[in-house]
Symmetry: C2
Subunit: 229 residues, 2 copies
Amino acid sequence: MPSPTHRAQRRTDALSRERIVEAAVELLDTAGESGLTFRVLTERLATGAGAIYWHVANKGELLAAATDAVVAAALAPGGSQASPQEEIRAVALGLFDAIDDHPWLATQLSAQFSRSPWGAVTPRIFERIGRQVSALDVPQETWFTATSALVHYILGAAAQNAANAVSARELDPSVDRAGFLDAAATAWEELDPDDYPFTRAVAAQMRVHDDREQFLGGVDLVLTGIITR
Amino acid sequence: MPSPTHRAQRRTDALSRERIVEAAVELLDTAGESGLTFRVLTERLATGAGAIYWHVANKGELLAAATDAVVAAALAPGGSQASPQEEIRAVALGLFDAIDDHPWLATQLSAQFSRSPWGAVTPRIFERIGRQVSALDVPQETWFTATSALVHYILGAAAQNAANAVSARELDPSVDRAGFLDAAATAWEELDPDDYPFTRAVAAQMRVHDDREQFLGGVDLVLTGIITR
DNA sequence: ACCTGAACACCGTTCAAGT
DNA sequence: ACCTGAACACCGTTCAAGT
Protein backbone atom coordinates (compact mmCIF):
# COMPACT_ATOMS: atom_id res chain seq x y z
CA MET A 1 0.00 0.00 0.00
CA PRO A 2 2.21 2.80 -1.24
CA SER A 3 1.46 6.23 0.10
CA PRO A 4 1.44 9.19 -2.28
CA THR A 5 4.87 10.08 -0.91
CA HIS A 6 6.11 6.71 -2.00
CA ARG A 7 4.58 7.18 -5.38
CA ALA A 8 6.40 10.42 -5.79
CA GLN A 9 9.56 8.51 -5.03
CA ARG A 10 8.78 6.09 -7.79
CA ARG A 11 7.95 8.83 -10.23
CA THR A 12 11.49 9.09 -11.52
CA ASP A 13 10.77 5.80 -13.16
CA ALA A 14 12.65 6.32 -16.39
CA LEU A 15 15.58 4.06 -17.09
CA SER A 16 18.98 5.55 -16.50
CA ARG A 17 22.53 4.34 -16.24
CA GLU A 18 22.37 5.06 -12.54
CA ARG A 19 19.26 2.99 -11.98
CA ILE A 20 20.75 0.12 -13.97
CA VAL A 21 23.97 0.12 -11.99
CA GLU A 22 22.01 0.28 -8.76
CA ALA A 23 19.96 -2.75 -9.76
CA ALA A 24 23.13 -4.56 -10.81
CA VAL A 25 24.74 -4.00 -7.42
CA GLU A 26 21.60 -5.26 -5.68
CA LEU A 27 21.58 -8.33 -7.84
CA LEU A 28 25.26 -9.00 -7.23
CA ASP A 29 24.79 -8.64 -3.50
CA THR A 30 21.86 -11.00 -3.31
CA ALA A 31 22.54 -13.52 -6.06
CA GLY A 32 26.29 -13.38 -6.48
CA GLU A 33 28.29 -12.88 -9.62
CA SER A 34 26.51 -15.56 -11.61
CA GLY A 35 23.17 -14.02 -10.61
CA LEU A 36 23.78 -10.87 -12.62
CA THR A 37 22.13 -11.59 -15.94
CA PHE A 38 20.65 -9.35 -18.57
CA ARG A 39 17.46 -11.39 -18.45
CA VAL A 40 16.79 -10.97 -14.75
CA LEU A 41 18.03 -7.39 -14.92
CA THR A 42 15.51 -6.89 -17.69
CA GLU A 43 12.72 -8.29 -15.50
CA ARG A 44 13.76 -6.34 -12.44
CA LEU A 45 13.75 -3.11 -14.39
CA ALA A 46 10.68 -4.08 -16.39
CA THR A 47 12.20 -3.29 -19.79
CA GLY A 48 13.77 -4.99 -22.77
CA ALA A 49 17.37 -5.97 -23.26
CA GLY A 50 17.93 -3.27 -25.84
CA ALA A 51 16.95 -0.59 -23.36
CA ILE A 52 19.82 -1.57 -21.08
CA TYR A 53 22.23 -1.58 -24.00
CA TRP A 54 21.21 1.95 -24.76
CA HIS A 55 22.71 3.08 -21.46
CA VAL A 56 25.51 0.55 -21.04
CA ALA A 57 27.89 -0.76 -23.70
CA ASN A 58 28.10 -4.36 -22.45
CA LYS A 59 28.27 -6.54 -19.38
CA GLY A 60 31.89 -5.73 -18.72
CA GLU A 61 31.14 -2.05 -18.53
CA LEU A 62 28.21 -2.73 -16.24
CA LEU A 63 30.41 -4.74 -13.90
CA ALA A 64 33.02 -2.00 -13.96
CA ALA A 65 30.41 0.64 -13.17
CA ALA A 66 29.04 -1.40 -10.29
CA THR A 67 32.53 -1.87 -8.89
CA ASP A 68 33.31 1.77 -9.32
CA ALA A 69 30.13 2.87 -7.54
CA VAL A 70 30.76 0.69 -4.51
CA VAL A 71 34.44 1.61 -4.24
CA ALA A 72 33.67 5.30 -4.57
CA ALA A 73 31.21 5.01 -1.69
CA ALA A 74 33.73 3.13 0.43
CA LEU A 75 36.44 5.71 -0.20
CA ALA A 76 34.11 8.65 0.21
CA PRO A 77 34.35 10.48 3.54
CA GLY A 78 37.89 10.29 4.87
CA GLY A 79 37.06 12.64 7.71
CA SER A 80 39.71 13.78 10.18
CA GLN A 81 43.29 14.89 9.74
CA ALA A 82 44.95 11.98 11.44
CA SER A 83 48.52 10.92 10.82
CA PRO A 84 49.33 9.41 7.43
CA GLN A 85 49.58 5.99 9.03
CA GLU A 86 46.15 6.32 10.59
CA GLU A 87 44.69 7.54 7.31
CA ILE A 88 46.12 4.58 5.47
CA ARG A 89 44.71 2.21 8.05
CA ALA A 90 41.33 3.90 7.75
CA VAL A 91 41.26 3.64 3.95
CA ALA A 92 42.38 0.04 4.16
CA LEU A 93 39.66 -0.82 6.64
CA GLY A 94 37.09 0.94 4.49
CA LEU A 95 37.98 -1.27 1.54
CA PHE A 96 38.12 -4.30 3.78
CA ASP A 97 34.58 -3.68 4.98
CA ALA A 98 33.29 -2.91 1.51
CA ILE A 99 34.61 -6.22 0.22
CA ASP A 100 33.10 -7.92 3.23
CA ASP A 101 29.71 -6.38 2.42
CA HIS A 102 29.96 -7.07 -1.30
CA PRO A 103 31.96 -10.27 -1.69
CA TRP A 104 31.78 -10.10 -5.49
CA LEU A 105 33.90 -6.97 -5.21
CA ALA A 106 37.04 -8.99 -4.55
CA THR A 107 37.03 -10.88 -7.83
CA GLN A 108 35.86 -7.80 -9.65
CA LEU A 109 38.54 -5.58 -8.25
CA SER A 110 41.32 -7.85 -9.40
CA ALA A 111 39.57 -8.32 -12.73
CA GLN A 112 39.39 -4.53 -13.18
CA PHE A 113 42.99 -4.49 -12.14
CA SER A 114 43.75 -6.96 -14.89
CA ARG A 115 41.52 -5.73 -17.68
CA SER A 116 42.28 -2.03 -17.54
CA PRO A 117 44.85 -1.36 -14.84
CA TRP A 118 44.18 2.33 -14.93
CA GLY A 119 40.52 2.28 -15.73
CA ALA A 120 38.78 4.13 -12.96
CA VAL A 121 38.75 2.28 -9.67
CA THR A 122 42.41 1.46 -9.28
CA PRO A 123 43.71 5.00 -9.78
CA ARG A 124 41.33 6.21 -7.10
CA ILE A 125 42.68 3.74 -4.58
CA PHE A 126 46.26 4.25 -5.70
CA GLU A 127 46.00 8.01 -5.38
CA ARG A 128 44.25 7.86 -2.05
CA ILE A 129 46.91 5.63 -0.49
CA GLY A 130 49.81 7.25 -2.30
CA ARG A 131 48.98 10.70 -1.01
CA GLN A 132 49.46 9.43 2.52
CA VAL A 133 52.64 7.62 1.61
CA SER A 134 54.08 10.84 0.26
CA ALA A 135 53.28 12.48 3.59
CA LEU A 136 55.25 9.80 5.35
CA ASP A 137 58.62 11.48 5.14
CA VAL A 138 60.30 8.82 3.04
CA PRO A 139 62.44 9.46 -0.06
CA GLN A 140 60.40 10.13 -3.19
CA GLU A 141 62.10 7.33 -5.13
CA THR A 142 60.37 4.86 -2.84
CA TRP A 143 56.84 6.23 -3.26
CA PHE A 144 55.88 4.17 -6.26
CA THR A 145 57.06 0.84 -4.91
CA ALA A 146 55.73 1.56 -1.44
CA THR A 147 52.27 2.51 -2.64
CA SER A 148 52.09 -0.47 -4.97
CA ALA A 149 53.03 -2.80 -2.15
CA LEU A 150 50.35 -1.35 0.12
CA VAL A 151 47.64 -1.47 -2.50
CA HIS A 152 48.50 -5.02 -3.47
CA TYR A 153 48.49 -6.17 0.09
CA ILE A 154 45.21 -4.45 0.92
CA LEU A 155 43.31 -5.78 -2.06
CA GLY A 156 44.81 -9.24 -1.79
CA ALA A 157 44.19 -9.67 1.90
CA ALA A 158 40.70 -8.20 1.78
CA ALA A 159 39.84 -10.48 -1.11
CA GLN A 160 41.10 -13.51 0.72
CA ASN A 161 39.02 -12.62 3.73
CA ALA A 162 35.87 -12.15 1.71
CA ALA A 163 36.50 -15.51 0.08
CA ASN A 164 36.76 -17.15 3.47
CA ALA A 165 33.50 -15.54 4.53
CA VAL A 166 31.72 -16.67 1.38
CA SER A 167 32.93 -20.24 1.46
CA ALA A 168 32.12 -20.43 5.14
CA ARG A 169 28.53 -19.49 4.39
CA GLU A 170 28.32 -21.83 1.43
CA LEU A 171 29.83 -24.85 3.06
CA ASP A 172 27.48 -24.80 5.98
CA PRO A 173 25.34 -21.75 6.77
CA SER A 174 24.49 -23.10 10.19
CA VAL A 175 28.07 -23.07 11.37
CA ASP A 176 29.39 -19.80 12.81
CA ARG A 177 32.70 -18.12 12.27
CA ALA A 178 34.39 -19.82 15.17
CA GLY A 179 33.18 -23.18 13.94
CA PHE A 180 34.47 -22.51 10.46
CA LEU A 181 37.88 -21.41 11.66
CA ASP A 182 38.05 -24.41 13.91
CA ALA A 183 37.24 -26.78 11.07
CA ALA A 184 39.79 -25.12 8.79
CA ALA A 185 42.48 -25.20 11.47
CA THR A 186 41.78 -28.85 12.13
CA ALA A 187 42.09 -29.58 8.41
CA TRP A 188 45.46 -27.84 8.42
CA GLU A 189 46.63 -29.84 11.40
CA GLU A 190 45.83 -33.03 9.56
CA LEU A 191 47.98 -32.21 6.53
CA ASP A 192 50.98 -34.37 5.75
CA PRO A 193 53.76 -33.42 8.19
CA ASP A 194 56.42 -33.85 5.53
CA ASP A 195 54.71 -31.74 2.90
CA TYR A 196 53.14 -29.07 5.07
CA PRO A 197 55.17 -28.51 8.23
CA PHE A 198 54.71 -24.76 8.15
CA THR A 199 50.98 -24.73 7.52
CA ARG A 200 50.56 -27.21 10.36
CA ALA A 201 52.68 -25.08 12.67
CA VAL A 202 50.56 -22.06 11.95
CA ALA A 203 47.17 -23.77 12.23
CA ALA A 204 46.62 -22.88 15.87
CA GLN A 205 47.29 -19.23 15.09
CA MET A 206 44.76 -19.32 12.33
CA ARG A 207 42.16 -20.89 14.65
CA VAL A 208 42.04 -17.93 17.04
CA HIS A 209 42.87 -15.02 14.78
CA ASP A 210 40.58 -12.04 14.23
CA ASP A 211 40.20 -11.06 10.60
CA ARG A 212 40.29 -7.31 10.97
CA GLU A 213 43.08 -7.36 13.51
CA GLN A 214 45.18 -9.64 11.35
CA PHE A 215 44.46 -7.53 8.31
CA LEU A 216 45.62 -4.36 10.05
CA GLY A 217 48.64 -6.25 11.31
CA GLY A 218 49.65 -6.81 7.71
CA VAL A 219 49.15 -3.16 6.87
CA ASP A 220 51.37 -2.16 9.78
CA LEU A 221 53.96 -4.63 8.66
CA VAL A 222 54.17 -3.11 5.20
CA LEU A 223 54.17 0.37 6.72
CA THR A 224 57.07 -0.61 8.95
CA GLY A 225 58.96 -1.81 5.93
CA ILE A 226 58.31 1.44 4.12
CA ILE A 227 59.49 3.62 6.98
CA THR A 228 62.48 1.50 7.92
CA ARG A 229 64.05 1.37 4.48
CA MET B 1 56.46 -36.02 -41.96
CA PRO B 2 56.44 -37.80 -38.62
CA SER B 3 59.18 -40.33 -38.06
CA PRO B 4 58.33 -43.68 -36.42
CA THR B 5 59.78 -42.24 -33.24
CA HIS B 6 57.28 -39.45 -33.42
CA ARG B 7 54.53 -41.93 -34.03
CA ALA B 8 55.53 -43.84 -30.96
CA GLN B 9 55.19 -40.56 -29.11
CA ARG B 10 51.70 -40.14 -30.45
CA ARG B 11 50.77 -43.71 -29.63
CA THR B 12 49.54 -42.85 -26.18
CA ASP B 13 46.70 -41.23 -27.97
CA ALA B 14 43.96 -42.10 -25.52
CA LEU B 15 42.24 -39.25 -23.78
CA SER B 16 43.36 -38.61 -20.26
CA ARG B 17 42.95 -35.91 -17.69
CA GLU B 18 46.57 -35.00 -18.23
CA ARG B 19 46.17 -34.59 -21.97
CA ILE B 20 43.06 -32.49 -21.49
CA VAL B 21 44.73 -30.19 -18.99
CA GLU B 22 47.72 -29.85 -21.30
CA ALA B 23 45.49 -28.85 -24.19
CA ALA B 24 43.63 -26.41 -21.94
CA VAL B 25 46.86 -24.69 -20.93
CA GLU B 26 47.89 -24.41 -24.57
CA LEU B 27 44.56 -22.93 -25.47
CA LEU B 28 44.69 -20.46 -22.61
CA ASP B 29 48.19 -19.39 -23.59
CA THR B 30 47.34 -18.79 -27.22
CA ALA B 31 43.72 -17.67 -27.13
CA GLY B 32 43.30 -16.25 -23.66
CA GLU B 33 40.71 -17.02 -21.08
CA SER B 34 37.75 -16.60 -23.38
CA GLY B 35 39.42 -18.91 -25.90
CA LEU B 36 39.09 -21.94 -23.66
CA THR B 37 35.85 -23.54 -24.79
CA PHE B 38 34.59 -27.07 -24.65
CA ARG B 39 33.84 -26.91 -28.36
CA VAL B 40 37.34 -25.99 -29.49
CA LEU B 41 38.81 -28.28 -26.85
CA THR B 42 36.64 -31.00 -28.36
CA GLU B 43 38.00 -30.28 -31.82
CA ARG B 44 41.61 -30.03 -30.69
CA LEU B 45 41.36 -33.39 -28.95
CA ALA B 46 39.22 -34.87 -31.70
CA THR B 47 36.55 -36.21 -29.39
CA GLY B 48 33.07 -35.42 -28.12
CA ALA B 49 32.11 -33.19 -25.24
CA GLY B 50 31.03 -36.12 -23.12
CA ALA B 51 34.51 -37.64 -23.33
CA ILE B 52 35.99 -34.60 -21.63
CA TYR B 53 33.34 -34.69 -18.96
CA TRP B 54 34.33 -38.24 -18.23
CA HIS B 55 37.73 -37.02 -17.04
CA VAL B 56 36.86 -33.59 -15.71
CA ALA B 57 33.83 -32.61 -13.65
CA ASN B 58 33.26 -29.18 -15.21
CA LYS B 59 34.97 -26.10 -16.57
CA GLY B 60 35.82 -24.77 -13.14
CA GLU B 61 37.73 -27.92 -12.30
CA LEU B 62 39.52 -27.78 -15.62
CA LEU B 63 40.61 -24.21 -14.97
CA ALA B 64 41.75 -25.18 -11.50
CA ALA B 65 43.73 -28.11 -12.83
CA ALA B 66 45.39 -25.93 -15.48
CA THR B 67 46.33 -23.37 -12.85
CA ASP B 68 47.62 -26.03 -10.55
CA ALA B 69 49.76 -27.61 -13.24
CA VAL B 70 51.43 -24.34 -14.19
CA VAL B 71 52.02 -23.26 -10.61
CA ALA B 72 53.43 -26.64 -9.67
CA ALA B 73 55.92 -26.34 -12.52
CA ALA B 74 56.88 -22.83 -11.49
CA LEU B 75 57.44 -23.86 -7.89
CA ALA B 76 59.21 -27.06 -8.79
CA PRO B 77 63.00 -27.01 -8.45
CA GLY B 78 64.02 -24.67 -5.65
CA GLY B 79 67.66 -25.67 -6.02
CA SER B 80 70.28 -24.32 -3.65
CA GLN B 81 70.32 -23.71 0.07
CA ALA B 82 70.45 -19.96 -0.01
CA SER B 83 69.34 -17.72 2.82
CA PRO B 84 65.62 -17.57 3.56
CA GLN B 85 65.47 -14.11 2.03
CA GLU B 86 67.08 -15.32 -1.16
CA GLU B 87 64.77 -18.32 -1.30
CA ILE B 88 61.74 -16.11 -0.91
CA ARG B 89 62.96 -13.83 -3.65
CA ALA B 90 63.53 -16.84 -5.89
CA VAL B 91 60.07 -18.24 -5.32
CA ALA B 92 58.56 -14.82 -5.87
CA LEU B 93 60.42 -14.39 -9.14
CA GLY B 94 59.38 -17.85 -10.24
CA LEU B 95 55.74 -16.94 -9.81
CA PHE B 96 56.32 -13.57 -11.39
CA ASP B 97 57.75 -15.18 -14.50
CA ALA B 98 55.05 -17.84 -14.63
CA ILE B 99 52.36 -15.18 -14.61
CA ASP B 100 54.27 -13.30 -17.24
CA ASP B 101 54.34 -16.41 -19.44
CA HIS B 102 50.72 -17.31 -18.77
CA PRO B 103 48.85 -14.05 -18.26
CA TRP B 104 45.56 -15.87 -17.60
CA LEU B 105 47.21 -17.21 -14.48
CA ALA B 106 46.79 -13.92 -12.68
CA THR B 107 43.01 -13.82 -12.84
CA GLN B 108 42.83 -17.52 -12.25
CA LEU B 109 45.04 -17.43 -9.21
CA SER B 110 42.90 -14.85 -7.48
CA ALA B 111 39.77 -16.69 -8.58
CA GLN B 112 41.11 -19.91 -7.08
CA PHE B 113 41.96 -17.88 -4.05
CA SER B 114 38.36 -16.76 -3.90
CA ARG B 115 36.52 -19.93 -4.82
CA SER B 116 38.32 -22.39 -2.60
CA PRO B 117 40.96 -20.60 -0.55
CA TRP B 118 42.61 -23.84 0.42
CA GLY B 119 41.98 -25.82 -2.70
CA ALA B 120 45.34 -26.89 -4.00
CA VAL B 121 47.40 -24.05 -5.44
CA THR B 122 47.28 -21.57 -2.62
CA PRO B 123 48.45 -23.93 0.13
CA ARG B 124 51.44 -24.87 -2.00
CA ILE B 125 52.50 -21.26 -2.33
CA PHE B 126 51.66 -20.46 1.26
CA GLU B 127 53.68 -23.39 2.55
CA ARG B 128 56.63 -22.68 0.30
CA ILE B 129 56.91 -19.07 1.41
CA GLY B 130 55.97 -19.75 5.01
CA ARG B 131 58.74 -22.28 5.46
CA GLN B 132 61.27 -19.59 4.66
CA VAL B 133 59.55 -17.08 6.89
CA SER B 134 59.81 -19.50 9.78
CA ALA B 135 63.54 -19.75 9.11
CA LEU B 136 63.82 -16.00 9.38
CA ASP B 137 64.35 -15.84 13.13
CA VAL B 138 61.22 -13.86 13.91
CA PRO B 139 58.72 -14.70 16.68
CA GLN B 140 56.30 -17.47 15.77
CA GLU B 141 53.24 -15.30 16.48
CA THR B 142 54.17 -13.21 13.46
CA TRP B 143 54.50 -16.10 10.99
CA PHE B 144 50.92 -16.20 9.87
CA THR B 145 50.55 -12.48 9.25
CA ALA B 146 53.99 -12.20 7.69
CA THR B 147 53.44 -15.04 5.26
CA SER B 148 50.00 -13.78 4.30
CA ALA B 149 51.40 -10.35 3.59
CA LEU B 150 54.15 -11.75 1.41
CA VAL B 151 51.83 -14.02 -0.55
CA HIS B 152 49.30 -11.26 -1.08
CA TYR B 153 51.93 -8.87 -2.28
CA ILE B 154 53.54 -11.37 -4.60
CA LEU B 155 50.33 -12.48 -6.27
CA GLY B 156 48.94 -8.96 -6.46
CA ALA B 157 52.02 -7.37 -7.90
CA ALA B 158 52.67 -10.16 -10.35
CA ALA B 159 49.07 -10.00 -11.51
CA GLN B 160 49.29 -6.28 -12.03
CA ASN B 161 52.42 -6.68 -14.07
CA ALA B 162 50.91 -9.35 -16.27
CA ALA B 163 47.90 -7.13 -16.79
CA ASN B 164 50.13 -4.32 -17.92
CA ALA B 165 51.88 -6.62 -20.35
CA VAL B 166 48.60 -7.89 -21.77
CA SER B 167 46.98 -4.51 -22.21
CA ALA B 168 50.16 -3.19 -23.73
CA ARG B 169 50.01 -5.91 -26.36
CA GLU B 170 46.32 -5.42 -26.93
CA LEU B 171 46.34 -1.68 -27.20
CA ASP B 172 49.00 -1.58 -29.84
CA PRO B 173 51.15 -4.61 -30.61
CA SER B 174 53.57 -2.51 -32.59
CA VAL B 175 54.57 -0.37 -29.64
CA ASP B 176 57.30 -1.72 -27.39
CA ARG B 177 57.54 -1.72 -23.65
CA ALA B 178 59.30 1.62 -23.42
CA GLY B 179 56.68 3.16 -25.66
CA PHE B 180 53.88 1.76 -23.57
CA LEU B 181 55.36 2.99 -20.33
CA ASP B 182 55.97 6.35 -21.87
CA ALA B 183 52.38 6.63 -23.02
CA ALA B 184 51.06 5.56 -19.63
CA ALA B 185 53.33 8.00 -17.81
CA THR B 186 52.22 10.80 -20.08
CA ALA B 187 48.60 9.94 -19.38
CA TRP B 188 49.33 10.16 -15.67
CA GLU B 189 51.00 13.50 -16.06
CA GLU B 190 47.92 14.84 -17.75
CA LEU B 191 45.58 13.92 -14.91
CA ASP B 192 43.80 16.66 -13.00
CA PRO B 193 46.35 18.22 -10.61
CA ASP B 194 43.71 18.69 -7.92
CA ASP B 195 42.40 15.14 -8.05
CA TYR B 196 45.60 13.24 -8.74
CA PRO B 197 48.63 15.08 -7.34
CA PHE B 198 50.31 11.90 -6.15
CA THR B 199 49.84 9.89 -9.31
CA ARG B 200 51.23 12.83 -11.27
CA ALA B 201 54.20 13.11 -8.96
CA VAL B 202 55.01 9.46 -9.45
CA ALA B 203 54.55 9.37 -13.21
CA ALA B 204 58.21 9.95 -14.03
CA GLN B 205 59.19 7.08 -11.76
CA MET B 206 56.76 4.81 -13.50
CA ARG B 207 58.15 5.80 -16.91
CA VAL B 208 61.62 4.44 -16.23
CA HIS B 209 60.96 1.61 -13.84
CA ASP B 210 61.93 -1.99 -14.51
CA ASP B 211 59.18 -4.47 -13.75
CA ARG B 212 61.23 -7.20 -12.15
CA GLU B 213 63.40 -4.81 -10.19
CA GLN B 214 60.38 -2.96 -8.89
CA PHE B 215 58.68 -6.22 -8.03
CA LEU B 216 61.67 -7.43 -6.02
CA GLY B 217 61.83 -4.03 -4.38
CA GLY B 218 58.37 -4.64 -3.02
CA VAL B 219 59.33 -8.08 -1.76
CA ASP B 220 62.32 -6.59 0.05
CA LEU B 221 60.10 -3.94 1.52
CA VAL B 222 57.75 -6.48 3.03
CA LEU B 223 60.69 -8.56 4.20
CA THR B 224 62.14 -5.52 5.92
CA GLY B 225 58.87 -4.98 7.68
CA ILE B 226 58.78 -8.58 8.83
CA ILE B 227 62.32 -8.51 10.21
CA THR B 228 62.09 -5.10 11.79
CA ARG B 229 58.96 -5.73 13.81
C1' DA C 1 16.20 10.01 -28.11
C1' DC C 2 14.80 6.10 -26.00
C1' DC C 3 12.65 1.64 -25.73
C1' DT C 4 10.62 -3.18 -27.28
C1' DG C 5 11.33 -7.93 -27.85
C1' DA C 6 12.19 -11.45 -31.14
C1' DA C 7 16.22 -13.51 -33.14
C1' DC C 8 21.16 -14.92 -33.44
C1' DA C 9 25.27 -17.10 -32.28
C1' DC C 10 27.40 -19.30 -28.77
C1' DC C 11 28.10 -21.42 -24.39
C1' DG C 12 28.43 -25.34 -20.53
C1' DT C 13 26.37 -29.54 -19.52
C1' DT C 14 23.53 -33.87 -19.94
C1' DC C 15 22.45 -38.30 -21.51
C1' DA C 16 20.82 -42.16 -24.30
C1' DA C 17 23.34 -44.84 -27.15
C1' DG C 18 27.33 -47.10 -28.66
C1' DT C 19 31.99 -49.89 -28.11
C1' DA D 1 35.23 -48.28 -18.57
C1' DC D 2 35.32 -44.97 -21.90
C1' DC D 3 33.56 -42.37 -25.74
C1' DT D 4 30.02 -40.18 -29.28
C1' DG D 5 27.31 -36.39 -30.54
C1' DA D 6 22.72 -34.65 -30.64
C1' DA D 7 19.89 -32.04 -27.54
C1' DC D 8 18.82 -28.78 -23.70
C1' DA D 9 18.72 -24.68 -21.20
C1' DC D 10 20.76 -20.48 -20.89
C1' DC D 11 23.67 -16.68 -22.02
C1' DG D 12 25.28 -11.82 -24.08
C1' DT D 13 24.29 -9.08 -27.87
C1' DT D 14 22.00 -7.19 -32.12
C1' DC D 15 18.63 -4.89 -34.66
C1' DA D 16 14.41 -3.78 -37.21
C1' DA D 17 10.60 -1.75 -35.58
C1' DG D 18 8.06 1.19 -32.73
C1' DT D 19 7.08 5.77 -29.88
